[in-house]
Amino acid sequence: MPQEWLTEAWLRVKALLKRKRLERDLEEELEFHLAMRTEKNRALGIAANDAKTAARRRFGNVTLVKEDCREVWILTWLETLWRDLFYAARILAKSPGFAAVVIFSLALGIGADTAVFSALNAVLLHGLPYEHPEELVTIFSTHKWDPTPGIDLVPLADVAALKKANHVFADMGAIGGIGEATLAGLGEPVKVPVQTVTPNFFTLVGVQPVLGRVFRVEESHEDSQTVVVSDTLWKTKFHGDAGVLGKTFRIDDIVSTVVGVMPAGFKTFGPWFTGKQADIWQPVNPEDARYANRVGFWIVPLARLKRGVTLPQAQLEMDVLEQALEKVYPQQNKGVGAEVVPLYEALYEDSQNSLYPLLGAVGFILLIGCVNVANLMLSRTESRRKEYSVRASLGAGRRRLMQQLLVESGLLTLLGGLLGILLSFWGIHLLGAISKDLPDAENIRVNGRVLLFAGGLSLLTGLLFGMAPAFRASRTDLHDALREGESRTATGKHSGTRYLLVVAEVALAMVLLVGAGLMINSLLRMLLPSPGFDPANVLTMTVLFPPTGGKYLERSPGKPMERISPKVTAYHQRLMEGVSALNGVESVGMITMLPPLGSGGRTLSIVGHPAPDKRPFLGFNEVSPSYFRTMRIPLKRGRYFDERDTTNAPWVAIISETTANRYFANEDPIGQQILLRYTYVNDVDEVRPRQIVGVVGEVKQAGMGGVHPQVYESYLQQPEVYPGGSDGFHLAGTLVIRTTSDVRAHAADITTSVKQMVKEMDPDQPVTDISTMEDMLGEYMSRDKTYVLVLGVFAGIAVVLAAIGVYGVLSYFVNQRGRELGIRFALGAQRRDVFVLVAKLGVTLAGTGLAIGVALALGLHRFMKEHLRLFHVKATDPATYAAVGILLVCIALLACYIPARRATNVDPMTALRHE
């Protein structure tokens, strides 16, 4: 009786868990007995003392009885368990093939699941290292000019206004982006990730420094500043010396004094919530007059909800306050709203998107593995019925038989689980590559919680696939099974379950294949088409002036405009002249941001056209006249920039083909006047309009996935003054150097020379991001490639497991039907007929699974669309479905072929005589 067995197992587990309780119960029970006997004795007229002694005598040795009772519960059980384990090991060693397939199936499932769970554990379940992180919220601005829906940053002045007016937050601060800044004054200048935060940031998140102090509210960054450094920087640059406090160096030419060191493991996040970490924090003061002009959407407010305030309440308050701000600043704040988002959500949404499909995938793998194992166990139970019957007839109870079988599956699970955990280490390594830019990625590792998960999972699978065969075996009919030849008649009864399981396996594998297929399809669509330029033999390196300007920028506090030193242009000009004269250099060009890393933005209006409600958004870059030729970006119409396009000549612009097609559909763009507007400043246009002089070929400027309309300006034709915060693009420059022959032969020499030239012009200026264009593209796509690889590996595992399932069931079919096939041969059936008979079963099973799989995948298309990064591929893409379907059918046929072939080799005489 299964219930019986379950009750017993439950009682024993309870006994193990509640030993104390058991002990107490035992004590009380025996005590009761002795008390009853004493009373009885006294009723018989024995004196109180003697009555007690007599009761004890009659009872016997109380301690010994207790011990025996305890043993009943625990020891005897362990003994039988040990015996079963020994027996199970011997049985399994006798069929190593079976054991290997089962252990391998489980290990793959458990390993993959554990690896993905460890990532999930680190990235999603791991708490932020802040005090009460659940109270922290971020605020994004929703605003009018950006055509793409989604989040946007906030001007600092709004943070100050919101902080002052709100009643829902205990405190409010803000964080800026984590940018590379030049650290000078400590040996060779280097780039370090620096983050601007409001002075109250550290107290807001509730983390104390290990050394020194955090910022005071009035501290702000202008001509000199205080900074707080990370543990990493402290250890690498200052060798963990406590004397670091008070040390000064220059960050982007701003003299900076260290006042504090944060503890190891302290981490912040940029406004885009990637895994990038800052090593230096510098203060900015939202009250500062410089930010009063409400320009520069560059900061994310961070606030702590007051106790008891809910998210909707905070949101309501922000809506009210934003409306009030719009009334006070009708121009700047027109249409600007605020959205309150919990910090957790802001940080982890992206991680969830990339991890959930993987979690789904490994869940499927585990299911397929379990189904496989259950199927194998079923077949094995059938073929071992005789053994069970013999054991039963020798007196083994059903309970014992079941326990024995469960121990056998337990042993298999244990081995599978251990191997799985080993596999998961490798899996984690792979996942690390995908998730390196996720927050908390460095925490992805096997820890107690992960091991607990793996253990629980193994236990669950063991029960899942171990239970069914155990029940079935316990129902073995003694007499039937002992009769010779029984197996041939009984199989039909149980085949249904087996077939159903195989169909389920194929269906699950199909869903995984569809997911992986879609991703591969999408990746190919990104990689195969030309990026729009020729990346071969191009060396790139970045010469980025401090975005805050330093000595190249003249800033008047409180005024909105910033004047760029003419030295910047001269510097770039001289550098390019020098580089082009180097040995092995064919040509050199410069662009602000390399494709496919992105672009800045400008909104467009065409002079003479009616002003649109919403100005179109164009990707924007400054380039040198030589850029297009060096990158071999084709000219479609008009001309490239040349050296005569200076500030004194008429101002010009070049647009991309997409821009031309989209905004000049029915007219010639060449000669049209356009007015470009800075996107990160409200309502500020460039000082004068530009004439379109050329149309160039499309370049994958912002990501490999698609093309976005672009506009280019010459770096020689730029205004002297910019609205604050918009000058970064003029200060930044990436060199593209085309070499005369193999770039790898020249890269080292050219790099050394460029560094030398830069050092001569400005010793504080580092040269960074030195890479060949091809390496850079490879690196850029590496995350997507690894993701596809992982998903592909998962799908591959699923298919192999499903194929093993099909193969196993058909093999079993052939083995059991040997006699029937022999008769068929004897009656004159052709080999082909028998082959078809077996193959037909296989194809029917695989085909049914495939059809169900397609239906399942279609049902999941919304999930796939949401969570897979698909470019130009619909989640229902018929070509992908067809391709993976054909692949699966081919593999299923292969799995059918071997058993079908063996069926044709059945010797009718042997098969019949075997009776």
């Binding site: 009786m1 009761f32 016997g60 011990e67 025996d68 009772c69 005897t76 309970r399």
Partner: protein, 113 residues
């Protein structure tokens, strides 16, 4: 420690199990009542120490032949009550039949022909 007991006879142990099952077929009882019942019915022939009853009760509970529950006794004390489960009832029937066959066989051998 257990050695000695098991030497005194598996037969005794099996018999004790059977007696307990039989006793409990009358209904729910606590250990003391089981002991009293066996003691009285056997005309005090089975001179078993009363304590030996408890490991046997627990063994039967673990095997699922008995179920146990805590309740109140007649004199208002907490006591552990045992009752037969379906499996126990079945076991009792099998064992009884077995025992009858055995004793019949033994009696036939022992009696002079």
């Amino acid at each position: 420690m257990t050695q000695k007991k098991s030497e005194t006879g598996d037969l005794l142990r099996d018999t004790l199990d059977l007696l307990i099952l039989k006793t409990l077929s009358r209904g729910e009882m606590h250990g003391y009542d089981v002991a009293e019942y066996i003691h009285e019915r056997s005309d005090q022939v089975l001179g078993v120490e009363e304590g030996a009853l408890y490991p046997a009760l627990h063994r039967l509970e673990v095997r699922g032949l008995l179920a146990a529950e805590w309740g109140m006794s007649d004199n208002n004390r907490r006591a552990k009550y045992y009752r037969l489960t379906a499996a126990g009832r079945k076991q009792l029937a099998e064992e009884t039949a077995h025992w009858k066959r055995m004793s019949y066989a033994i009696a036939r051998i022992l009696e002079p022909a």
